[in-house]
């Protein structure tokens, strides 16, 4: 009934306005206020940081827009002579690589034979990994092969790294591994 009451009230008004309806047409279509009210650029206040696409090897340059510590947008860097601001669908989706509900933010640990993960502290996990690396290295280190050749290595630890990682990581990883005598150092670059 509320509705009909509204109708009842408005009808008297409109009946007063009566034939004047036609004259309202022009007014109703006036656009200028609508334009003025259009949305503002959501990265206007954002900080722009040059970055790169982590997918294929073309090396597309990107710009990361952040407000505070919050990434609000990632798009191609128009200055780059290699991609000139363009990106492929994966590059265009880098944002969801960072802002993604499925992303894990805790270190996890699974005991031998256990049925589920346990969240653990970073410190504990790093210490534990270091212990295991030392233990395995010490157990399996070979100074000389059975034929006497000096090798100073272990083949019982395998370091496998993706190829979307920084040169700096590659250097640190291969240096640490070779420093420890770990020779089985591999990378996605192979396969």
């Amino acid at each position: 009934m509320a509705l009909s009451r509204r109708e009842f009230l408005e009808c008297t008004a409109s009946m007063g306005a009566g034939g004047a309806i036609g004259s309202l047409v022009g007014l109703g279509l006036d656009l200028s206020p609508a334009v003025a009210r259009a949305q503002t650029l959501r990265i206007r206040e954002a900080k722009a940081t040059p970055s790169l696409c982590p997918y294929c090897s073309v090396g597309c340059a990107t710009i990361v827009h952040t407000i505070g510590n919050d990434i609000v947008n990632i798009e191609g860097d128009p200055r780059s002579p290699h991609n000139e601001g363009t990106l492929c669908p994966k590059g265009a989706a880098i944002y969801q690589l960072h802002k993604n509900p499925n992303r894990v933010t805790k270190a996890l640990h699974r005991k031998p034979g256990a049925a589920r993960w346990e969240a653990v502290s970073l410190e504990w996990a790093m210490d534990r990994v270091a212990e295991l690396v030392k233990k395995t290295r010490d157990e399996t280190f070979v100074e000389r092969l059975s034929d006497g050749t000096l090798v100073n290595h272990t083949t019982a630890i395998f370091s496998l790294g993706g190829a979307t990682l920084d040169n700096e990581w590659n250097h640190l990883q291969q240096k640490l591994m070779r420093g420890l005598g770990i020779v089985a150092i591999e990378n996605q670059a192979r396969i």
Binding site: G28, R37, A38, L41, E75, G85, C88, P89, A92, Q96
Partner: protein, 266 residues
């Protein structure tokens, strides 16, 4: 008032990478359909299937291969709102939510739209639909916000092969005509522009270079304004209304006549 801006889409260099679809979603923060979990459509590499309230760009794939595979073609085209010069959606929108901007583009103002959905039915290209997030009708805005800030629309900036080109409509049409000449010279007689002249809805500010019939790309050969039906429909309705009225009057009069007759007999 700045000059008219728009898209020129050269389908002959579209590699169907769908960067435009994702760049659009990323900039406009549009969700994936059903969280990204879909069934494979089986329609070539096209799984999003159509434009709607959260897919403002859609890449179509058309496989043209004879049995012997000689001279086979795989056509790809990134579809988007055509930003018609005479826009059906804008024409019928009862709330004034759909506006023509200073760039001669067509934009739906989400805060004014009340979701009557007439624009969806009015668009001859099936561009508009309800965005479940906002519950209002939405479509490509030609990145109105970026344009106002002097930036290129997200899809055009992302497009790796410049199949999607953005700029002043005049320049784009010039460039497009030269490309058609080039293609014809290279032996592609079917090369043509779609929407580059007034023939289609007064011109499309997002127009296409095609190498086959529009129908092949799912584009109407001859789209019309919905209001083309207004006069005739109304006239016919009024006519029928008059007939009904006449019938009523006549029968009532007839009834009176009989009555009088009865009186006389008595």
């Amino acid at each position: 008032m700045p000059e008219a801006m728009g898209f020129y889409t050269d389908t002959t260099v579209c590699i169907g990478c769908k960067a435009c679809e994702v760049a659009c979603k990323a900039w406009n923060q549009l969700p994936a359909t059903n969280g990204g979990v879909l069934e494979m459509s089986g329609d070539s590499y096209d799984n999003t299937q159509r434009l709607d309230g959260i897919n403002w760009r859609h890449v179509k794939f058309i496989e043209q291969f004879p049995d012997d595979r000689v001279a086979g073609r795989w056509l790809m085209m990134s579809d988007v709102c055509k930003h018609c010069v005479r826009a059906p959606c804008l024409e019928v929108c009862p709330t004034g939510a759909i506006i023509r901007t200073e760039f001669d583009t067509v934009v739906i103002q989400s805060d004014a739209c009340n979701g009557c959905r007439l624009c969806i039915a009015a668009c001859p290209f099936g561009v508009i639909d309800i965005n479940p997030a906002s519950n209002t009708a939405q479509k490509c805005t030609l990145c109105y916000d970026r344009l106002k800030a002097g930036l290129e629309p997200a899809c055009a900036q992302a497009c790796p092969t410049d199949s999607i080109q953005f700029g002043p409509i005049g320049e784009l049409k010039e460039r497009a005509r030269r490309r058609v000449e080039q293609l014809r010279a290279l032996g592609e007689p079917r090369a043509r522009l779609y929407g580059a002249d007034e023939a289609i809805l007064g011109g499309l500010n997002s127009f296409y270079l095609l190498v086959d019939e529009p129908g092949v790309y799912g584009l109407p050969r001859n789209p019309q304004l919905p209001t083309r039906n207004l006069r005739a429909s109304s006239a016919l309705s009024v006519a029928v209304a008059l007939v009904m009225g006449l019938v009523g009057l006549v029968t009532l009069r007839a009834r009176r006549a009989n009555k009088r007759a009865e009186v006389h007999d008595a």
